[in-house]
């Protein structure tokens, strides 16, 4: 039976305001469910000891008629790479075992100001490098729809936690699809905002020109509500934008009559599982019935996106992960001298995928290879960006699958980096082009969820919300649960 842990944020807030639900009840049910089911799923790494008291406090203030924030009393799951002061913050890595956050990420400050409760940590691939949540030092997360399958990654814990009713909402981070792909494979909504829309202050940096924080929710309207809370200019992140003129209207119009949607012809050339293609085309037909005009478009350089991504991302990661020296925080392994200490600490503290990418990045940035790899990849990134700029002159949004495959078996691709990387083929382009993209549930194949990806021009999240909310108004995929 579905209990209140499967509510949407909108429903929960309405019920709490009407006195039909308390935050304490919502949090208690979430904790019960986690107690019963998380040991098997490993979506949540640990839960906050104070969250129940915080829920009671919100209930008391609500009962006293106090004006509360828009997310008051709603429990959030937080990916392990977003710093929370006083919380263990490990990025899924052994090298940060024992590390405690010494300040709050800006998104955390904003959630707290809106009255949100922080329920616990969600599992992730080590430093967000992975598409399956198997590279976590704290063990893999399983897919709630089939526990022999992976949940996607890197934010697999956040996706599985929302899909399982452990929390109604969670935060993740997306560098090449790490929000959208697990959202697709777990059957929930996942939003990667435009680069610069949400501050990354307090997010462990993976690739700084690609990283964004975003929400996992059940409905598109809830994703819009969370975005509205966490977005906007932050003096502590120089890449964050002043959104004074681009904020999303609170009321999302559920009408897409006359909107123009593009289907990239290069995406439908046998790259995806045929059953996924069929599911996606059925969803596209639904959008057409809702009044959208669908046309074929071309993204001529999209076949180079994945290779571009797997040069730029490891290059930036190799630089960002230089900060893990074993001295200032986390795991430490003493050597004979400082160089030896660095090498031992990092050799023992990082997992195999992280080491692979650090070395790949060091290689492509090193003298003699920089021009052939890194500089060339930056040029191709310009071409990819240009493809999207051209496409958005013709259409309001682009529609595609989020992932070329369904959730695969645990262990299936773990030792084959190229097979793992290929699962990001539809998601990396949005990060390279800095545009917003969202995955919404659009059906099932063999009992496993399929995600529809929507992409729009920079700062036009509203178009994604309008299309997504219209689709959810006409379908019930998002109301299905694995339990």
């Amino acid at each position: 039976m579905k209990d209140d842990t499967f509510v949407t944020l909108k429903e929960a807030t309405q019920k709490m305001n009407a006195g039909e639900l308390t935050s304490e009840a919502l949090v208690s049910e979430a904790l019960n469910r986690i107690n019963q089911e998380n040991e098997d799923l490993n979506a949540i790494l640990w839960v906050s000891e104070t969250v129940l008291d915080e829920a009671r406090d919100i209930d008391k203030r609500r009962a006293q008629g106090e004006e509360l924030g828009v997310l008051a009393g709603i429990p959030f799951g937080i990916k392990d790479n977003i710093l929370v002061q006083g919380w263990k913050s490990t990025g899924g890595s052994q090298i940060l075992e024992g590390h405690t956050g010494s300040y709050n990420a800006t998104v955390i400050e904003r959630l707290k100001a809106a009255g949100a409760l922080l329920l616990g940590r969600t599992n992730m691939d080590e430093f967000a490098m992975g598409s399956s949540t198997e590279s976590s030092h704290y063990g893999p997360t399983k897919n709630p729809w089939d526990k022999d399958k992976i949940p996607g990654g890197s934010s697999g814990g956040s996706a599985a936690a929302v899909a399982s009713g452990f929390v109604p909402v969670a935060l993740g981070s997306d560098t090449g699809g790490s929000i959208r792909q697990p959202a697709a494979l777990c059957g929930v909504v996942g939003l990667k905002p435009t680069y610069g829309r949400v501050s990354r202050y307090g997010l462990m940096a993976l690739a700084s020109s690609l990283d964004q924080i975003g929400p996992f929710t059940r409905t598109v309207e809830d994703a819009a509500l969370v975005l509205e809370t966490i977005e906007g200019l932050d003096p502590k992140d120089s890449t964050s934008y002043d959104l004074t003129n681009t904020s999303v209207p609170s009321l999302i119009e559920k009408d897409i009559s006359g909107m123009k949607l593009g289907l990239p012809k290069e995406y439908f050339n046998g790259m995806m599982d045929p059953s996924i293609e069929k599911t996606i085309m059925t969803a596209v037909e639904e959008l057409e019935r809702a009044g959208a005009k669908v046309q074929e478009i071309s993204l001529p350089h999209c076949e180079y996106a994945l290779a571009t991504y797997y040069i730029i991302q490891p290059a930036e990661a190799s630089s960002n992960l230089g900060r893990f020296d074993g001295l200032r925080y986390g795991y430490h392994s003493s050597g004979q001298n400082l160089q030896d200490t660095y090498e031992r600490t990092r050799g023992e503290g990082f997992g195999s995928e992280v080491k692979r990418r650090i070395m790949l990045g060091s290689y492509t940035l090193s003298a003699g290879y920089y021009d052939a790899y890194y500089r060339r990849a930056l040029k191709v990134r310009s071409l990819i960006k240009r493809d999207f700029d051209e496409a958005f002159k013709q259409v309001d949004a682009i529609v595609s699958p989020t992932s070329p495959s369904l959730a695969w078996n645990l262990g299936e691709k773990f030792n084959d980096p190229i097979a793992m990387y290929l699962s990001d083929i539809y998601s990396v382009s949005a990060n390279l082009a800095t545009i917003p993209a969202m995955s919404i549930p659009c059906g099932f194949v063999s009992g496993l969820p399929v995600g529809l990806q929507l992409m729009a021009k920079p700062f036009d999240e509203y178009s994604l919300f309008r299309i997504g909310a219209t689709y959810q108004n006409r379908t019930d995929w998002h109301t299905q649960t694995p339990l």
Binding site: Q85, G86, H99, T100, S102, Y103, Y195, G196, S209, L210, P235, S238, T239, Y241, Y304, L306, A307, T308, Y310, I311, G322, G326, L327, R328, Y329, H332, N337, L338, Q339, T341, E343, R344, R346, G347, F350, S352, K355, R356, I358, M359, L360, S362, Y363, S366, Y373, R375, R376, A377, L378, K379, V380, R381, S382, L383, K385, P417, I418, Y421, L432, T434
Partner: protein, 101 residues
């Protein structure tokens, strides 16, 4: 393409990573296969294309050059994360060795 043992050791040194023997062997193949895949970019002509450099639009953001202090609690948490400390200071091994005075 398979990277040589020497290439892996050189990259590991640049990356400040100690590798076990079996890792050296595995990364020779792994990095080789990834480099083969990204080789795809060589087939494109990029003459006259400028590098994508400013994901945030290329606007410089300045602030006053003044120190903002953090809370006492943050200070203490930062120090507690140190691997070794002496009083308020982070204790590390010598950076310059064999230095003669």
């Amino acid at each position: 393409m398979k990277l040589t043992r020497e290439e892996i050791l050189q990259i590991a040194k640049l990356s400040r990573l100690h590798l076990e023997e079996e890792e050296i062997v595995r990364y020779q193949d792994d990095l080789g296969s990834i480099l083969d895949y990204v080789e795809k970019l060589q087939e494109l002509s990029v003459d006259g294309i400028t590098e994508f450099q400013h994901a945030a639009g290329g606007v410089n953001v300045f602030r006053e050059d003044k120190i903002d202090s953090c809370s006492q609690e943050s200070r203490e948490q930062i120090r507690e994360n140190f691997s070794a400390r002496e009083g308020d200071l982070l204790k590390v091994q010598a950076v310059f060795e064999n230095r003669t005075l």
